[in-house]
């Protein structure tokens, strides 16, 4: 029983960051219709930006996290402006090929800059775990969970309570009508891609110190993000949140009770199973933005 609780808690920590990745991708893939295979590279970017800020610039840990998110926002905005915007009228497959190119280029760029040796990201938290009723949790992991939940709430508020969020929802419901109402939809596309990428960078910055940073870490992150999006339904932000937590817990239980070698297979199986059995996602009736 204690073991089960422990797995659940670990799963939620992972799941919180998966939810961030998933919300980011559901904005880009679900709403903008860009099959963003580079999404995981923004996750990697977040982890390396944190590492650089801490070791090269000697920044405070929390400032480094903030900087990583800003990095994700800026690189995301530039990517959208330079590569996605000119292809707005092209087919979804054309844009997908470009994003595959971006994925490979970013990943190998990181490999060239940082080398193939994994980097461990320093953090200021004590390594003595907190224990409560048989469940132990490193303070760093607790911080990751809290920060991820904070960012998730922030994303929800941004989309549902701000002018920008309203403009985003309008654009993705009907871009032409939104444009007629004075929404500058090209800016909305750039902003959406930037926010999605920023959330992925945040996930990388948070999970980087828990594990290690290495250039190909984004591959699995991309696939997990896709499985979260598919689990939650395209463009469904609440769905992505729940989907992320479900994937985190499922992976942790799978690794604990089935086989740790197949931990990463959980996401793949979810993609295949959900697409075949329930392609609109598990929470299709939940609130929908798109």
């Amino acid at each position: 029983m204690d073991q089960l609780l422990q797995h659940l808690v670990n799963g939620l920590v992972l799941g919180g960051t998966y939810a961030l990745l998933g919300i980011g991708l559901t904005l880009i893939f679900g709403l903008m219709n860009v099959v963003n295979f580079a999404h995981g590279e923004f996750y990697t970017l977040g982890a390396y930006a944190t590492f650089a800020a801490l070791t090269l610039a000697d920044l405070n840990f929390f400032a480094a996290l903030g900087l990583a998110i800003v990095c994700g926002l800026v690189v995301g905005a530039v990517t959208e402006f330079v590569l996605v915007r000119p292809l707005r009228r092209e087919s979804i497959d054309t844009v997908m090929l470009v994003m595959i190119g971006v994925w490979i280029a970013m990943q190998n760029g990181e490999l060239l800059v940082w080398g193939g040796v994994a980097k461990s990201i320093p953090h200021p938290f004590s390594t003595t775990p907190l224990t409560l009723g048989g469940v132990s949790l490193a303070p760093l992991r607790l911080f990751v969970l809290v920060a991820a939940l904070g960012l998730i709430v922030g994303a929800h508020l941004l989309i549902h309570r701000t002018r920008l969020g309203r403009a985003m929802r309008a654009t993705f419901q009907d871009a032409d009508t939104a444009a007629l109402m004075g929404v500058r939809i090209r800016r909305i596309y750039t902003a959406t891609f930037a926010i999605g990428s920023g959330l992925a960078a945040a996930a990388g910055a948070l999970l980087g110190p828990v594990f290690i940073a290495y250039p190909s870490m984004g591959d699995l992150a991309s696939l997990k993000a896709f499985s979260v999006v598919i689990l939650g339904g395209l463009g469904n932000i609440a769905g992505a949140t729940v989907g992320g937590l479900v994937l985190g817990v499922a992976e942790e239980l799978g690794a604990g009770y089935v086989s740790s070698g197949y931990r990463d297979a959980v996401g793949f199986v979810i993609i295949i199973a959900v697409l075949l059995l329930r392609p609109s996602g598990l929470f299709a009736r939940a609130e929908r933005v798109g």
Partner: protein
């Protein structure tokens, strides 16, 4: 003119080991041939039916493992293991086609990636069958009667035959009713179905043939390098195939072969000057540049 060029090309291909004595150059040509089969197989899906498979390394790997295991564990002859590898990959292609081709576009891509991910994890974790990450060393070289095809020039002819076979299979398929159905489905699926083209059936057929050809390439690769490990499932292989098809020209028969030669010879030629990471970085950038500036690929742009 075209005919003369074709005869010259065939003659050059047939006599190539006579004027390329250098073993390393011959190795590059053999790899170009194996990738030519792979790129042609991917092109059948991506170029003709318009569905991108990003799990193609899985069919390649299944072919390689099937062939290696059959010859190593059960001591089958290469000449039986090769068709068995094609069959194994074809069956996997059928399963994925049946499952995935209810889905189109991005969803098809995701299912193929996930399938490749699961297969790669199995190859790493199922120690008893695959020997895990250590791989299977000592895959035997094919023998033809009393001769061993161990030498590079002999293997070259084997690969050349496979390339010719793959080309011919694709050509016959594409020039037939079936090929026209593929293109019709790519261009407008609803319209194609309204005139009686059974979309799912044709797409499954394309997936089976495409996977089978990838399995053929896998078997040839296994018996050439004589070693198979989970690295055959590396995403790099899939990416290389995509670049070859997109650069050479999607939906043309010659395009994937041109792409395969270009993207096998070029990296080798630049190997002294650049490292592997630079090469992959360049692949990513080339893909982006191609989509923007040469969207139809080399063959349709320069040779039509």
């Amino acid at each position: 003119m075209r005919r003369a060029a074709g005869i010259l090309l065939a003659l050059a291909a047939l006599t190539l080991p006579l004027w390329i004595a250098n073993a390393y150059f011959l190795h590059v040509v053999i790899m170009a041939g194996i990738f030519g089969v792979l790129a042609s197989s991917l092109n059948l899906l991506l170029g003709y039916t318009g569905q991108l498979s990003l799990g193609h390394a899985a069919f390649f790997g299944i072919g390689a493992y099937a062939s290696a295991l059959l010859t190593l564990r059960w001591e089958w002859s290469f000449w039986l293991a090769l068709p068995a590898a094609v069959l194994a990959a074809g069956i996997a292609g059928w399963a994925i086609g049946r499952l995935a081709l209810k889905l189109r576009g991005a969803y098809f891509v995701l299912v193929t990636i996930s399938f490749a991910g699961v297969i790669a994890l199995i190859s790493i974790n199922w120690m008893d069958l695959t020997n895990g990450p250590l791989g299977l060393p000592g895959v035997p070289a094919p023998e033809l009667g009393p001769w061993s095809l161990r030498t590079k020039s002999a293997y070259y002819y084997l690969v050349l035959a496979a390339v010719a076979l793959a080309y011919e299979v694709c050509r016959r398929l594409v020039d037939s009713r079936i090929g026209r159905a593929f293109v019709a489905l790519r261009e407008n699926e609803a319209l194609a179905e309204s005139v009686g083209v059974d979309g799912t059936r044709y797409l499954v057929l394309a997936a089976v043939v495409s996977a089978g050809l990838a399995g053929l390439a896998g078997s040839l690769y296994a018996h050439y390098t004589r070693f198979v490990s989970p690295e055959v499932f590396l995403f790099t292989y899939t990416v290389t195939m995509v670049i070859m098809v997109v650069a050479g020209g999607k939906g043309t028969l010659a395009g994937p072969l041109v792409g395969a030669v270009l993207f096998t010879v070029l990296p080798e030629a630049l190997r002294a000057a650049t490292s592997w990471q630079w090469q992959m970085l360049a692949y990513g950038l080339i893909l982006v540049v191609l989509v923007f500036f040469l969207p139809r690929g080399i063959v349709p742009t320069f040779f039509r």
